[in-house]
Symmetry: C2
Subunit: 206 residues, 2 copies
DNA sequence: CGTGTTAACCAACACTTTGTTGAACAATTA
DNA sequence: TAATTGTTCAACAAAGTGTTGGTTAACACG
């Protein structure tokens, strides 16, 4: 089970895969991962049940297909994140750069709104969240933190990256579930404001 | 479906419920929420399959039973959190108090290790995580933030609490998945150190 | 445009899981 | 002890799963 199935490159095949993936995201968002059957899925997708098994070995395989599509797209984003000079944060110039990276993040997220709302929402897949966190953490440690922290790894450093990764993802999730959603630019400003605060500083809107 | 079943108060009933709940946590941790059948569960629990349906309407009902047990326990913790004087953070006295609250949090988490590792791990239940975040956010807004922020609610305030709630939970999750786990006291020190940092400050071990 | 290829469709299959039932049994409580 | 009641066991229909073989129709390409 869960054997790898080669993805056919045929107009019919692509169409079927898209119908199935779209219906999958819709059903996960509405009913949760195990709130529907393959039969439900193929009916909504207007695709024969047998066709599903021609493309995916089971529901998990389709889930993996949807998730990896997004995770692969992150890699480009990572290169931008990696350019953030963590040791020089706080200066006006660096803040401006971080702001632009935040804009890119929220824009990227907005482009994958349907998938993320479904898979990271209350009926979604927690392993997807873990994979995203892990990816971001690894990027931070490997690319951003300077040599000293990489060699002299203390528990504090590991928890440090986990802390900020979770915090940022948390804000992203709140944003996605917001009705009157702020623009990526507004969110970048808000996030930069929060991240620049120490816990005790007063909250002001910039 | 999912009808409420009254919980019998009988030594046999209590025993069956405990066997089922323990087996449930074990199976969720190993195989994930939909990685096992009711049959698997009752076999591991050494309980007849019919007995399961005498206590719970379905798998979700048992999940809710396990989760609510933990969520109810949080309420006591909340009262301690509510005493944190957010507007006076940074002083030595306040930091000391926050530290003690952090110790309580990590101690409480450690007491529910099995449940949390299973339900918040990569095969767990994302809605449980959402419920915890929501609970913490509500507590922060309602009890900690002072009158000014409660009345003059800006998007920044909402995202602010979401940011810190997710950040702390993220650290807790990293800690739970750690092999050589730090003590609650050590973790309180680490978390306080991270939370007191602005993004640009250098990372040092206190 | 025609033709071989191949994916989609459809019906049928054995199999597993589900949720329910009724009767016999055994543990609990008072 | 006696009545209560949860557990067990066997059986059941219903639904979902993953697979198969044969037919139809869309596709890519020379």
């Amino acid at each position: 089970m869960s054997r790898t199935i080669e993805r056919k490159d045929d107009r019919r095949s692509r169409r079927s895969r898209k119908m199935l993936a779209d219906a999958f995201v819709e059903l996960v968002g509405e009913r949760g991962l195990d709130g529907f059957s393959i039969t439900d899925l193929t009916e909504l997708a207007n695709v024969n049940r047998g066709t599903f098994y021609g493309h995916f070995s089971d529901k998990e395989d389709l889930l993996e297909y949807c998730e990896s599509e997004f995770l692969n797209g992150i890699s480009e984003l990572e290169e931008r994140i990696a350019q953030v000079p963590v040791t020089e944060l706080g200066t006006e110039e660096t803040d401006s750069f971080v702001h632009s990276v935040f804009v890119e993040i929220f824009t990227f997220v907005e482009e994958h709104e349907a998938l993320l709302t479904a898979l990271l929402g209350p009926k979604g897949d927690i392993s997807f969240e873990h994979r995203i966190i892990d990816t971001v953490c690894t990027t931070l440690i490997d690319k951003i933190l300077n040599e000293q922290y990489r060699i002299n790894r203390t528990p504090l450093v590991d928890y440090y990256v986990g802390y900020y990764s979770s915090a940022i993802l948390g804000v992203v999730l709140m944003w996605l579930n917001n009705e009157n959603r702020e623009t990526p630019e507004e969110m970048a400003t808000i996030l930069l404001g929060i991240a620049s605060l120490s816990l005790g500083d007063p909250i002001v809107l910039s």
